[in-house]
Symmetry: D3
Subunit: 129 residues, 6 copies
Amino acid sequence: MSDVHPSRRNEALALLARLEPEAPAKVARNLDDFHADAVEILLGFAFSDVISRDGIDLRTREMLTVAMLGAMGTAQGQLEFHLRAALNTGVTREEIVEIVLQVAVYAGIPAAMNAMSAAKAAFRAQDAR
Amino acid sequence: MSDVHPSRRNEALALLARLEPEAPAKVARNLDDFHADAVEILLGFAFSDVISRDGIDLRTREMLTVAMLGAMGTAQGQLEFHLRAALNTGVTREEIVEIVLQVAVYAGIPAAMNAMSAAKAAFRAQDAR
Amino acid sequence: MSDVHPSRRNEALALLARLEPEAPAKVARNLDDFHADAVEILLGFAFSDVISRDGIDLRTREMLTVAMLGAMGTAQGQLEFHLRAALNTGVTREEIVEIVLQVAVYAGIPAAMNAMSAAKAAFRAQDAR
Amino acid sequence: MSDVHPSRRNEALALLARLEPEAPAKVARNLDDFHADAVEILLGFAFSDVISRDGIDLRTREMLTVAMLGAMGTAQGQLEFHLRAALNTGVTREEIVEIVLQVAVYAGIPAAMNAMSAAKAAFRAQDAR
Amino acid sequence: MSDVHPSRRNEALALLARLEPEAPAKVARNLDDFHADAVEILLGFAFSDVISRDGIDLRTREMLTVAMLGAMGTAQGQLEFHLRAALNTGVTREEIVEIVLQVAVYAGIPAAMNAMSAAKAAFRAQDAR
Amino acid sequence: MSDVHPSRRNEALALLARLEPEAPAKVARNLDDFHADAVEILLGFAFSDVISRDGIDLRTREMLTVAMLGAMGTAQGQLEFHLRAALNTGVTREEIVEIVLQVAVYAGIPAAMNAMSAAKAAFRAQDAR
């Protein structure tokens, strides 16, 4: 078993805070409640190893994530999270509309309709702040 | 049945030419050979109705398409096409590497490995020009 | 961007009314609330460009749609809608049972179980009228 | 373990012969080479338990199967087989074109493009007889 | 149509009782309410034809099922059922944690997060007994 | 960006050698040719962070991986690799037959047929040694 890098957990949670300020506390508690290594392995891979890399800025990465989760259609809750994260990192509502329409091209109308529902929920959450 | 807009076919093929100069002749022949309306309906929706819209530039749209097809894992040939199209619209190889790594986060290592194979094929095709 | 055909929106909503009389008002409001072009692009493609075409009657098309959404397993809400639409266009409950069993063959028992739940909801909705 | 019904193998192969006359010999050898029970369990479930049931005729069932496999996008070889089977059970080329277009609506353009390729292969196979 | 083996229904429900004692009554009523043959065909195939076979013990089979449903991401309710069944057939919580982490490798972080939620629900259900 | 643990690459390749002795040289060259960090990030996560963990032995983990890739149906080449790896870590051919049949239950007959083809290729590769 890997003698994991001690800072991956912290790096991952710091990146997560950029996506949604309230997320690290909630997500870490949720994963710590499951297994002591879950934050480090799952979020460490996602956010410390990959998403925090240079080469694509965080705002564009969130657009890519929204497109992927919309096309896959198997993680509606996480699609909503990343739509809020997209708004929080500077993606505009107009761009989100365009991503939803593009999902329709590559994954079909039902996937786009579900992405639209998630986008509307993210817009409402932003309006309610 | 829709009395389809006469210019959708032309608009779609013009957009397709921006993705790969050789594509319109080949793709149109392939679809015309199947049904007279196939170009207009399938490519008209994809390229005339959606991808040519303002709001997201074509280069970023190709990044989104590569991410979606990589994550879905069900259209390897079209993933290769859109990787070439990404290069043709200004996406860098470094950015493509980053998208492949991001696919691993959201769709798993096998999806990323298949996207890597497609990316390497697109890089070789570009080198061979 | 396509200078879209003005009647696609109306054609799409007229077809949608044949699937479920209450649907056009609800669906159009839902999409208009998202983006002014969403009905025209998403429903225009689905219903005006494709589903309203000759060659396969609407009743058989709804059977195909139920089979596809059941097999894909990523759009339970829309599966329920199209099960109600199938009943509204003359598909029998016996035929729906058979489609659910056929989903099991091609997409597995869990997909069929989820399709069965959606079918039972559609049957109850029909009984409650 | 189920003391399986002795005639399921024969029933399954008889149904398979209606889909493609050459199929039973080839498919049975392929599965027998893997495990003695594979024909009986896999084809018995598919063809004896489900597809041979009354309630939907074989021709319509093949349309449903083509739609499902086209939408799922994970079994291109079997999609080609069922497209040939569809032609063999009386589905017309025009109907197959319509199913391919309908796949685009519910599963996206790449799925439809792959289904089109499989359909063209099935048409060529029929022409070559 | 297959003249189905009379004991498949009983065999299937007996196996289901080993997964969760309360399941047969609930599941059989749910399926009988849909169609008289549904238990026999769907559960007969799943549990009598396949899962009750020798060659892999039931405990390991439940680990495989949890991994498959977690990776597919399209049947969250059934994933929760099979996580409870895994616990009921001797799979440990530590093993379930490991399966969830392994889902992340092959199907991505969102699939693992959804599997984690289902696992936590199964753990709570076990604690509440 | 994570200041990655220096030994993850080596740990990952050592685990990979247990799956197939020839794999590390081939896989590392394939990934190094794509990006200097690809082995460390993709294989480091898969093999160093997760698969090498205690809690489930490597032989059972390969059974789980074969089940997942068989059910997902989007990575046939990697399914073949992991079927060879399963044989190399002590999974028997009888167990592989059972996993293939179980894939049919949860993901449908076409997924099982594709897994059977991959299994037969792995058996032939083992026979040819």
